[in-house]
């Protein structure tokens, strides 16, 4: 028994060291590396709670293990009673008051951190972006009227105010490095914000079940120097939006080349070749009586967006069935 104890201590130390190494390399022991002040402050609150809960965890579990070891029966008969202790009022008061104090400290710290998590820095002049959650893509509207799909480009160092909405079902906006989630709820407008202080690409995914392709509803935020950002939003034109619509919306079901996947092979469908038929499908969906049918993915798209997709599809996707001749271009 004496020999077992050092082994046990060694094992525990080893486990703690492993955990420490894993935590230092962020093996999933803390939220992902923050890249925005709100995510930073959430991380701070996380660490504080982690500290307290780890201490309580170690206390409770080691008490349990020590008592299990120390008061084990050792072959005593079942008829032998333990100490007939019925309770202890002072102990009850201590383990009632002690958690209250800890929880009060945690709550106080949350309130202390809250302003820097919940509200954007007051002095900053934010860039307003509308984020529309859609089955099954994210669509971003920039202040100058430009629109992108799947990928949001923002300037580094600027406060970005996100207005999060949804026309169909509930989605949840979540880029872990840039702060917490907020749901995109039909009929409601929610706000959140972030400020990416360094250039980089941050990815996340929709966090509220939104239908069959919930898992494919990925989102990316690319933080770039202000000049690149301005260049990006002024250059978003028919060519880029058409490509984004195809790869961020159509390709989810129909494959990158329209070869089919969850949805049918559409690469040689004549519906693709006509603006009016494509418009009808995008606005209203297709075969809607069937579960998993084609949703009205473009019901909030502008005419220009539709045209961009038509042009893109004609140029890059559509292949007339037998001959394979290119049309338009």
């Amino acid at each position: 028994m004496r020999r077992k104890l050092p082994t046990l201590v060694l094992a525990v130390l080893l486990a703690l060291a492993t955990a420490g190494v894993a935590a230092a390399s962020n093996g999933g022991f803390t939220p992902v590396q923050p890249a925005s002040p709100n995510a930073h402050h959430i991380q701070g609150a996380y660490y504080l709670i982690l500290g307290f809960t780890s201490a309580i965890f170690v206390l409770v579990e080691s008490l349990l293990v020590v008592f299990i070891w120390k008061y084990r029966s050792r072959g005593r008969s079942r008829a032998v009673e333990g100490a007939q202790v019925h309770g202890h009022t002072r102990l009850e008061l201590i383990w009632t008051a002690f958690p209250v104090v800890i929880l009060a400290v945690i709550a106080a710290f949350v309130f202390y951190e809250l302003p820097s998590i919940d509200s954007a820095p007051a002095a900053a002049d934010p860039i307003h972006i509308t984020v529309e959650g859609h089955q099954y893509y994210w669509q971003f509207d920039y202040p100058n009227g430009a629109r992108s799909i799947g990928k949001l480009v923002v300037p580094t160092g600027a406060v970005v105010d996100l207005k999060v909405v949804s026309p169909d079902v509930i989605h949840s906006w979540w880029i872990p490095a840039l702060g917490g989630k907020v749901q995109a709820i039909p009929g409601r407008v929610n706000h959140t914000w972030f400020r990416a202080d360094k250039a980089g690409t941050f990815s996340g995914q929709c966090a509220e079940l939104c239908g069959v392709f919930h898992a494919s509803m990925l989102g990316t935020v690319a933080a770039k120097p202000a000049s690149s950002y301005h260049a990006y939003i002024t250059q978003i034109g028919p060519a880029t939006i058409g490509q984004q619509e195809w790869s961020g919306v159509c390709a989810t079901c129909h494959g990158n080349l329209g070869q089919g996947g969850y949805g049918p092979n559409i690469s040689s469908s004549t519906l693709l070749n006509s603006r009016s038929s494509l418009l009808g499908i995008l606005r209203n969906g297709l075969d809607t009586s069937r579960a998993g049918a084609m949703p009205p993915v473009g019901d909030t798209w502008t005419q220009a967006q539709i045209s961009a997709l038509v042009a893109y599809v004609k140029k890059h996707i559509y292949k007339a069935a037998p001959a394979g001749g290119t049309s338009g271009g």
Binding site: I42, S73, R76, H86, I170, P176, G179, G180, V212
Partner: protein, 549 residues
Amino acid sequence: MAARSEAVYPVGWKSGRVASWLVTVDHKRIGILYIATSLMWFVAGGILALLMRSQLATPGEHFLTKDSYNQVMTMHGTTMIFLVVIPILAGFANFLVPLMIGARDMAFPRLNALSYWLFLLGGIVLWLSWFSKGGAAHAGWWSYPTLSENFPFASPGHGQDYWILSIHILTLSSLLGAINFIVTIHNMRAPGMTWMRMPLFVWAIETYAIVLLVALPALSAAVTLLLLDRTVGTHFFIPSHGGSILLYQHMFWFFGHPEVYVMVLPVFGMISEILPVFARKPIFGYKAVAFSTLGIAFFSMLVWAHHMFTTGMPVGLDSFFMISSMVIAVPTGIKIFNWIATTWRGNLIFDTPMLFALGFIALFTMGGLSGIFLAAFPVDWQLNDSYYVVAHFHYVLFGGSAFGFFGGLYYWWPKMFGRTLDERLGKWHFWLLFVGFNLTFLPQHMLGLLGMARRIYTYHHGGLWEAYNLMSSIGSGVMALAVLVFLVNIWQAHVLRKGVRAGNDPWLADTLEWYTTSPPPAHNFDSVPYVTSARPLRDLRRRLAEQAQ
């Protein structure tokens, strides 16, 4: 009095081996029916879990399609909550409450039978929905509109309608049961059994019944409105026509959070019965444990919107629900400390029920502590709807409730069937389940922190995501093995008749159910001793010992 003798001594076709179970109004038989049926759904729901873990074992798998994944996920959650944890606890309560309080039966035996048959019917309706047009419901166990509405791209088909019908039947079953328990506990206690001499399990069932009574109607109402939206064209939850989605969320979680405590309070009660018997001590702080149950029940009704921190509620409301959710940790902590103190200076005997009870404390503590992260709403903004939450509630509902009811099964099995389950297999069952459980759910905390959202049917990250997911899937296999060992144990004890015959009181326990034979006769007791403390059987043993001297 023909009617009366018929109930006690079944005659004619009603006395057949099967028929006597079909017409029974005996609380013990109904309790066993509840438990057996719940275990059947437990295996079924567990198979669904294994399907999901197989799909998620490696990135980009094609084991399940995305449609069927969503159906499997919805059915797993609904089954485990409504067809396993709640009813198996109702089964224990049915079997035990009258025996523990020295009563002959429940107050309303026929109503009791109706509760069971409604439960079975609700389960059948839910599981037959696989065959309905469009397959089973696929909007998750909380079925948020508008995804659960009858829209072409949300939930067309009838799976969702069957889901609603099933919930209606099950809530009715639980409500009738709850009323029955309250009436029984208030009116039928043995002479001398004051409130402060009542077994802690009965305290837990009293509280459980009250919570059900308050919380369930909110769920019935919410799914009724959803049904109206889906079938007759109302717009309660359709914002484009002036409805409100948040209304559903509030109604659902006003039921949904108390529900969590419905699923764990009776287990607290079981632990409070098992621990003292195997520590050979009285429970430490009887009153603290009893009153903390009431405290949890009260606060459980004030915390519902902590499930909605990411819906953009005003910060004032977020703050209120954070504080109320933290407050509920206090009575829960009181229980854990009292349980640990119960083992202090005991004569700890590690039979299988005790292993499960101690395992429960170890795992439930983990589930409680991870809950504090989720209560702090800014941290919840990061963790909400991620695998961290999946890990958290499995520590509460599996590490907590399921470990508890397995402990309860091993503990009361001799009373229910007169035979003891094998200890060696029982220990294999415990250790496999304990290791498998931690292997499955511990890595899910990390997955959530790495950014893995709930309810996704696949992912494309390698590295840590893949490693943790694979670990989790392997763990689920180990858990399946553990459950298999349990089934073998039952088979060996009853089909091979290897189970050792148990006397009236194999564990030298404290409460009245051990006063009668194992299994008890239809009328439970020939006579009930006057109850002079919370441990009437120990009192009796001591009196007998004194007389013998």
